[in-house]
Amino acid sequence: MNKIDNLYKNEFSNIELEDEDSNKIYNNIVSKRSVHKYFINKLFVVLLFSIFIGFTGIVSANIIKDNLPKNWFYHTDDSIVVDHDGVIREVNQIDYDIINQDYVLNNCKSELYDKYIDDYFGLDNMINPCYKEYTYDVYEDDLKIKLVRSTFNKKDKLILKEVEKNNNRLSRIVLYSPNTTNIIPDKYNKYEPYEISSKDTKYDLTVIIKTPDYVKNELTDEEKLYFKANERLTLDYKEYNIKQINSKALVYRITPDGWRSPNYVIEYVYDNIFYTVSLDFRQTNNIDEEINAYLDSLYVEED
């Protein structure tokens, strides 16, 4: 080991920086030439790194976007078409002015709808779809209705809100997704055909949807039991108050209209017509009392 030791001492002690090189290096540093070069190099590295990060960000965003389900509504200008039998079909980025019912029927496959519902509602609790708001176009026969906003309730229904009809704003429309079976029997979800009209009331009754006769006439005993008067269910964030007012009027659901909304949606059938009303309870202290007052107002003396 002494040999190595000696070799190091002998050979490296002869190695020295030459004076010429030493002066050159010293002058480079003191004149700040090398300092500038050092900072320029740093800047160049930072610039390259930024370009790299930016580039990978764009690529990643595109990869994520490409891998999202096509009917995931990351485009706010995506559109949904609801045709007259309540089936919702998706059309991406359609031109509001040129689309017509034929286009919808000819170009929109029902599978799209199925896939949409599966994808959306299949997410279960992963997201709360209640406050997703999108712009959709809705066409019903020859009426041109634009849905400005919509709200998805958890699993059981699709509420489409704030409707424009021939450029006049209707405040509210409620449509059910056809695969709703957990609360309301499936057959009641197919409203065909329906008409939409606006009606001024102090409770902002905005939409009337005609339903088939079986809503009233074909209730089974089990369903009657299900809708028995004053039954109160609490399911997740919703409360249901089902009430038989008289033979003409059956209130079968009262739902808070979204988690944070002050509105309650009351859905009822009266004289063979399905009604939906959204009541704003911001001005009242007693919601139950207000709802009961409204329900009482529906009571009509039977002949």
């Binding site: 190595i4 070799l7 190091y8 001492k9 190695i15 480079n28 540093i29 003191v30």
Partner: protein, 155 residues
């Protein structure tokens, strides 16, 4: 500031140069790296409370990092010597038995061996300068010595 820098530069330029040379084993690269090391000192000279002994260790630490960075850089790693120049290099070093041997042993053993044999640093100090663990330093020294010994026996 310049006075202090000049003093440090004159005191330690050869020590740092030797350390760098023991790693890269050529004059041109050693000069380049030396300039980088002292440029960093020039930039940071007001930031640290540099006491004599600390300065040297700090310079060695920076130098060892710069050596590694230098050899890792794209331009250097892709560089190939022209045969003739490579031979010249060998001729230059023909009297330097140890340096010729060092060129044939792995880079990672060169700095620990230099710091141990020439600078006389302890294993703990070497591990601090090279930012490696003490056991790793021991292992590198042991293997480096073995390789040197074998090479020397073969000569």
């Amino acid at each position: 500031m310049n006075d202090l820098f000049t003093k440090i530069y004159n005191n330690y330029k050869n020590d740092v140069y030797r350390l760098i040379y023991s790693y890269v084993l050529n004059k041109e690269d050693s000069n380049d790296i030396l300039q980088k090391v002292f440029t960093k000192l020039f930039i940071n000279i007001n930031k640290f409370n540099l006491v004599d002994n600390n300065v040297k260790k700090w310079l060695f630490k920076v130098a060892s990092n710069e050596c590694k960075n230098h050899l890792k850089s794209y331009w250097i790693s892709k560089r190939k010597y022209i045969d003739d120049l490579s031979n010249l290099n060998k001729i230059d070093n023909k009297d330097n038995e140890l340096i010729n041997i060092l060129s044939s042993i792995s880079l990672k053993y060169r700095l620990p061996l230099y710091l141990y044999y020439y600078e006389g640093y302890s294993i703990k100090e070497i591990s601090t300068i090279l930012k490696i663990s003490e056991s790793n330093t021991k292992q590198r020294l042991k293997r480096g010595k073995e390789k040197l010994k074998i090479e020397l026996e073969e000569k």
